[in-house]
């Protein structure tokens, strides 16, 4: 039995050593060589989730790059921002989506739920710091462990292919060519009683604060922005709480609110996303605002650091 235990221990040790090499070597090389470079001409960038991804067309807005990605919580946006800003010194201004669903508890799941973690963690794991790892591990250890192996596999392949270019994976404008609002409203159950109390996602708000602080520490201008959503969108029900979070935790930052709008249903893909037509309207308006000095002469536009802009046809 001693011989068995000895040989098994040696085998286990070799296995662990090989696994450690498989994990650590690709991660450390990727960490050094990862390229998050964007177009040289872009000095304004925007981050967020699908609302932003489908709304700002960077072919219409000059010197601008939309880097939003569907289903991305601030935890992963923070990692992306750190790499993007450090490798693109020409960036001067950062817009970050700040909308109703991003304060909601559902963002916890977007941070450490299996679906989102297995998608985003392989991309950003090599760049996480200890406290980031701790957050994922403390809140969903089993999923984190299994996702680590997904991340190890994907990064091993990346390493073997010497593919260190992240430009295709960090988001970008997506035009939706559907208009399903009328159909959704026809089938929507209007009798659903919505909960009056909403719980917030502390981790998401914590990382929004980290994003803002990081951008400021790098000398960048930061704005929060809310993209148009249809009035019937269920996640708008927490508006009171949303404004309370805005006023209590993020009152020190300028907020551009496009949510007050008169856009007809045909400008939406569904209740929360603009379609291509809506994106064109919004992008043109946004371009006008930028050219009108939104960034350079903020006092012209903002009242109490909030700027409401009505979008219509």
């Amino acid at each position: 039995m001693v011989s068995f235990i000895r040989k098994f221990s040696v085998f286990a040790f070799i296995s662990i050593a090989i696994l450690a090499i498989i994990i650590v070597v690709p991660f450390s090389i990727i960490k050094q060589k990862a390229r998050f470079e964007i177009s040289d001409s872009a000095n304004i960038v925007m981050f967020g989730h699908s609302h932003t991804e489908c709304a700002y067309d960077d072919e219409i807005i000059p010197n601008f790059k939309n880097l939003a990605s569907s289903g991305e919580s601030y935890f992963y946006t923070f990692q992306k921002i750190k790499k993007t800003l450090s490798q693109n010194p020409e960036i001067e201004t950062v817009f970050v989506e700040f909308t109703n669903n991003q304060i909601d508890k559902v963002m916890d799941e977007w941070t450490w739920g299996y679906d989102k973690m297995s998608f985003y963690l392989p991309v950003y794991l090599p760049f996480l710091e200890y406290q980031d790892v701790e957050i994922l591990n403390d809140n969903n250890a089993s999923t984190f462990r299994s996702t680590i192996s997904v991340a190890s596999r994907k990064n091993l392949f990346r390493f073997l292919k010497s593919d260190y270019d992240y430009s295709d994976e960090i988001g970008g404008f997506t035009s939706l060519n559907v208009s399903a609002v009328d159909r959704i409203l026809d089938t929507m159950d209007t009798n659903i009683q919505h909960n009056k109390t909403y719980s917030t996602s502390n981790v998401n708000l914590h990382y929004l604060r980290k994003i803002i602080d990081y951008c400021r520490s790098e000398g960048k201008d930061v704005f929060l922005v809310r993209t148009p959503q249809h009035k019937k969108y269920k996640m708008l029900k927490n508006e009171e709480q949303f404004l309370s979070v805005r006023n209590s935790q993020f009152s020190d930052i300028d907020f551009i609110d496009f949510n007050n709008n008169n856009l007809p249903n045909t400008y939406y893909a569904d209740l929360e996303h603009l379609n291509g037509k809506g994106a064109t309207v919004l992008s043109k308006k946004f371009k006008q605002l930028l050219e009108g000095g939104l960034i350079s002469s903020k006092e012209k536009f903002f009242i109490d650091r909030t700027f409401h802009y009505l979008i219509s046809e």
Binding site: M1, S3, F4, F8, F11, I14, S15, I18, L19, I22, Y114, S118, S142, T143, S146, S149, V150, S152, R153, L156
Partner: protein, 405 residues
């Protein structure tokens, strides 16, 4: 009389926990069909894990004593250990008292070769479960849960993924259970003998879930008359054993149809007396199968893929609509689904698993003797590759399918 008390008690527990609501729902449907109502509410019963397995194990004990094959034990600890032996408690293999019980009375000494063999089998079991079954499950779930959105070719691929999922999930568990038992000095029965290399359905059923098939053969099929008697008697017995086998898996019509379908597959072989044609291992003395053997294996595999659709579907209607889509013109389109690149990686791993199993098809499990034919360094490398693959392809944790039975 004691025999019948034992049988009724065991089956009574099984019937209550597993089948009560099923019978009630069907009785209510029958009443509704005839225009009246039966107002009995169903029970919220938590099904004890592995009840089907240990019920059959205790039944075999009673019946074997009645038949005089075994002396009743007076050692309550040995009996309890036999019923609740942890490696195979929840999902088999279903052990016979004549084989397992005496092992509890033997003095066990550590056997190096047996322990290494056990560890090797555990490693192979983990590979099949974690790398193949859990990843195939991800795709099978995608297709079966949203079957109306996919083309025939995609659904066919989904059924193939499930075919490998269920095999690697269940045989992987059996490998882990048998390997763990070996570490403790116990020998359990081989439960799977590479069933997807079968040349006909009769051979498939001699190689799939062997401990259950032989249980039904010995305690149900033979007492019913087996293959003795006339043609109709054989047909009746075949249907009974397959339908009961399906019903054993769960209280759902899908399992019953799955069992009946396998009986239909089996009948032509039985009637033409070709059900015992393939008793040996395929390509016994050659590396590759002959063309005829290959075609037979592929055909048998396809039949099992179709049958597994009933096993996996939510209900019989779902299974039929799933199969209708498969057998439509869209069967010849290119499959469209999410995560194609990863699916391709999993298909490559399935082929790797099949090659290993093919090379080890004369043994108890895939890598039993395969690694031993190589020198020490190559052997170690094979094990390390398996460990790395297990780590790298560790996906979303999926419970063993047979835990629900």
């Amino acid at each position: 009389m004691f025999l019948w008390i034992s049988i009724f008690t065991n089956l009574g527990f099984l019937g209550f926990f597993k089948y009560f609501n099923f019978f009630l729902e069907n009785l209510q449907s029958a009443y509704t069909f005839f225009g009246s109502e039966l107002n009995i509410s169903s029970l919220h019963i938590i099904l004890p894990v592995g009840i089907s397995f240990y019920t059959f194990q205790t039944l075999s004990y009673t019946i074997d004593i009645y038949k005089g094959k075994l002396e009743p034990t007076k050692d309550i600890i040995a009996f309890s250990a036999f019923v609740s032996f942890f490696p195979q408690l929840v999902a088999g293999p279903i052990e016979r008292a004549t084989s397992l019980l005496p092992q509890f009375f033997q003095k066990r000494q550590f056997d190096y070769n047996q322990a290494v063999n056990g560890m090797r089998q555990i490693l192979w079991g983990f590979f099949k479960k974690i790398v193949i079954a859990d990843n195939c499950a991800m795709f099978a779930n995608q297709f079966f849960n949203n079957s109306s959105e996919f083309s025939g070719s995609s659904l066919f691929l989904g059924a193939v993924f499930f075919t490998f999922q269920i095999y690697c999930d269940f045989s992987g568990y059996s490998d882990i259970a048998i390997g763990t038992s070996r570490l403790f000095g116990f020998d359990l029965k081989q439960n799977f003998a590479f069933p997807y290399f079968s040349r006909d359905i009769a051979e498939f059923w001699r190689r799939w879930h062997i401990s259950l098939s032989t249980w039904f053969r010995d305690y149900l099929y033979i007492p019913l008359g087996g293959s003795r008697g006339g043609k109709w008697m054989k047909i009746r017995n075949t249907f009974i054993i397959f339908i009961v086998s399906g019903f054993w898996h769960g209280a759902n019509w899908t399992f019953i149809v799955w069992g009946a379908l396998n009986a239909i597959y089996f009948l032509p072989l039985l009637i033409t007396k070709r059900n015992r044609t393939h008793l040996g291992t395929v390509a016994e003395n050659s590396v590759l199968p002959s063309f005829k053997e290959f075609i037979n294996m592929a055909f048998t595999f396809l039949l099992s893929v179709i049958a597994w659709v009933f096993f996996r579907a939510k209900n019989v209607e779902h299974a039929i609509s799933y199969l209708k889509t498969i057998f439509s013109n869209s069967l010849f389109s290119i499959p469209e689904f999410e995560n194609k690149r990863y699916a391709l990686e999993i298909i490559v791993l399935v082929i790797f698993m099949l090659i290993i199993e093919w090379l080890g098809r004369r043994d108890q499990y895939g890598i039993e003797k395969l690694a031993l034919r190589c020198n020490r360094k190559v052997r170690l490398s094979i094990y390390l590759v398996l460990v790395c693959l297990i780590y790298l392809y560790l996906g979303k944790e999926q419970e063993f399918i047979y835990f629900q039975f």
